[in-house]
Symmetry: C2
Subunit: 418 residues, 2 copies
């Protein structure tokens, strides 16, 4: 009798101290995730439409590439004049997360949106995830002010925004949620914000893909062999190559950025010079396959033999573009680098070409951003569950071999890699 | 010129300080993973065959259930006489991981193997992952001695063994690798051992499934709707139910275990009494569906309406069986609980029955063991990539609502859940 009474009290205490707070917490973040997620998902859809327009328009009016220095000056001048407070981009989000000083200015969102569309319109080589993540972080952080959230909630809001931006731009809600948790610290995943990250990612992906019908590219790996011991052994050298490519990408961007900073004092002039070099290079190589997002080449890497140097050319074009101060992200170029490198490796490694392209697609990204789990989930969301074991180990090996730094200089190391 | 020389030195330093150590590390753990993984995968295959034999033999000779108290005494006595050093099972692995004192005795492996087969032969209600994880941990830890590994490597060896055991017993290499990283600390994933965990999981899964052809059950979710905002809202109450069920399971096992310890001083007598109660209950309810692994009922939960109380009955039978000192794991009964609870919820929640069964399958497990990412990957590996968003959020919500404890009392809290 006494026992039962005690159990009942236990149950009451559980409801009061554990269930009820969890329930309120869920409700609060559900409401916030719906607001923020719908906003960010819509911004991503708008951005994807703009990007599609800019890419199509450029391919129809190739003379625009000659104007890349002009576009560069425009971007450089606008950021110099209005964007000093947001010019650090993704690293700024990371720094605010670790060391909160002030709300991320909302202008980060329109500036990076404009800068990225302009970069792509005039033929720079860049991606889109940086833009999505920055729009996500900036939009989400406004809610800290509007809803008067506590400092601890602010970290969660930023995490939610990053998850929402990433998930909606690639159409990969699970990878987006885990990316936000994994990105913030090398070698560790923190679960404090796991529910808000999932909710934000889901709502934003829904808003972008189902409500606005923004289109995501579909990739297909027609044949995936069973996992044998020999295949495990072949994944490892492939993963090492992907990790080194990720490292090279990060290094190259960093070196170009330093060179431009040291060589040219007046910031708006940097993308002018960088844009001129890129435009001349495009003219010399005679193809536009290395500029823009490069989605057609990524898709080709899954079923046609490509020149072996494609991945190096893309690293060169992108690191030059971004190092000079153009806007965009690194991730789609990392996909490009990985898919073409995987394509090239299929001449040496006895795995199907499409599978190696898919492994490279996510693994180079894993190496450069130190987010192996998110990249594994992205591989599964894009290429199906059967690819999981291949992309998983490739991402882990690439993570291990890319060194303790990546494209985000402000990432903090949570655990050594081994 | 000077710049290039400096870059070359940089490159040399990178090779010496980063690439070469990573390469040696990979090689070392590859060799260890092949040895350990083949051994553990073979042990898992042997265990699966034994389990199949025990289950078939019992179903053909139902009078064996009347002998459950005898089987209980046998298990209790053997553990009392020879197993004092290994009786804490999974919690012992956790404790050795946090606070390494001495090598895990190899006898843990044969004892838990014998104990689990006997439990299933005589009709106890239990699982198998505890057995696999303990065999994995015990076998792997012997290599610490044989290869004279350093203390820091020992943690990695235990992680590798747990990953190998879990991966091979369920045929889910990704979930196994992440389970080992996630299980050791609530709310945090540590990447120090990420490569060894992956390699061990892959090799063991290969050995068990492809080399020994051990059979894994296949589950199928025929229809998965697109993710709408309404569906996101429906996943949440389902996840809450799964989390509470996981909590109830953990509580019930704990309460039975305490009752037996307080009520019966002589340990071998506890499973005798517990076995007698289970045997009488089986006779009274007139079905064997609540004992053993319960795989047929789990499969039924995906396509037929089941009695609403099935999940409660399974919690009762399993907590009684394990609390009394029988051996086995909790995970397959957790799958059972979740799948039948999901089946029941499909009467209230407008999602397909098979999908809810699949969500419950992994989410109750997520709540009881605090491993949401591993459970999400398991869902994807068992039910396909399309189920990912549903099982993912269900696992996260269940994790959040199961309280800060689980079936493993020795788990350390790394981060609060929110």
């Amino acid at each position: 009798m006494l026992e039962r009474a005690r159990e009942l009290i236990h149950f009451k205490r559980f409801v009061q101290t554990e269930f009820y707070p969890s329930f309120l917490y869920t409700l609060k973040w559900l409401v916030l995730a719906i607001f923020i997620g719908l906003l960010i998902g819509s911004a991503s859809a708008f951005f994807l439409f703009g990007l599609q327009w800019a890419t199509d328009f450029r391919e129809e009016h190739l003379y625009l590439i000659a104007l890349l220095p002009v576009g560069g000056f425009l971007i450089g001048w606008v950021y110099y004049r209005f964007g000093e407070s947001v010019v650090k981009g993704n690293n700024q989000l990371l720094e605010e997360f670790y060391n909160p000083l002030r709300t991320i200015p909302l202008r980060m969102a329109p500036l990076v949106l404009f800068g990225t569309i302009a970069t792509h319109l005039f033929g720079g080589s860049a991606g889109r995830e940086g833009t999505a993540v920055q729009m996500g972080g900036a939009i989400a952080d406004q809610f800290t002010k509007w809803f008067k959230l506590k400092p601890i909630d602010r970290k969660t809001v930023i995490t939610l925004g990053v998850a929402a931006g990433f998930a909606s731009i690639f159409g990969t809600p699970l990878a987006g949620a885990i990316f936000a948790l994994e990105w913030l610290m090398i070698g560790r995943v923190r679960y404090e914000s796991i529910l808000p990250a999932f909710l934000g990612a889901y709502v934003a992906d829904y808003a972008c893909a189902d409500f606005w019908h923004a289109h995501h590219t579909h990739y297909h790996i027609p044949f995936i062999p069973d996992l044998s011991l020999a295949n495990v052994l072949w994944i490892i050298p492939a993963g090492i190559c992907f990790g080194l490519a990720g490292r090279l990408f990060a290094k190259a961007t960093h070196i170009w950025s330093e060179l431009f900073k040291q060589g040219i004092q007046y910031p708006p002039l940097r993308p002018v010079v960088g844009g001129a070099i890129v435009a001349i290079l495009v003219y010399l190589v005679g193809t536009t396959k290395y500029i823009g997002l490069g989605v057609p080449t990524i898709m080709e890497a899954f079923d046609a033999e490509l020149p072996w140097y494609d991945f190096l050319a893309k690293i060169g074009f992108t690191s030059l573009t971004l190092g000079a101060g153009f806007k965009g992200g690194e991730v789609t170029p990392l996909f490009y680098t990985g898919a073409t490198l995987g394509n090239m490796l299929s001449g040496v490694i006895p795995l199907p070409m499409a599978l190696l392209a898919g492994m490279g697609f996510v693994a180079v990204f894993s190496g450069a951003t130190n987010t192996p789990l998110s990249c594994t989930l992205m591989g599964i969301e894009l290429f199906g569950a059967d690819s999981g074991v291949y992309v998983g180990l490739a991402c882990v090996v690439a993570y291990l071999f890319s060194g303790h730094s990546g494209i985000y200089g402000s990432q903090v190391i949570g655990s050594p890699k081994h």
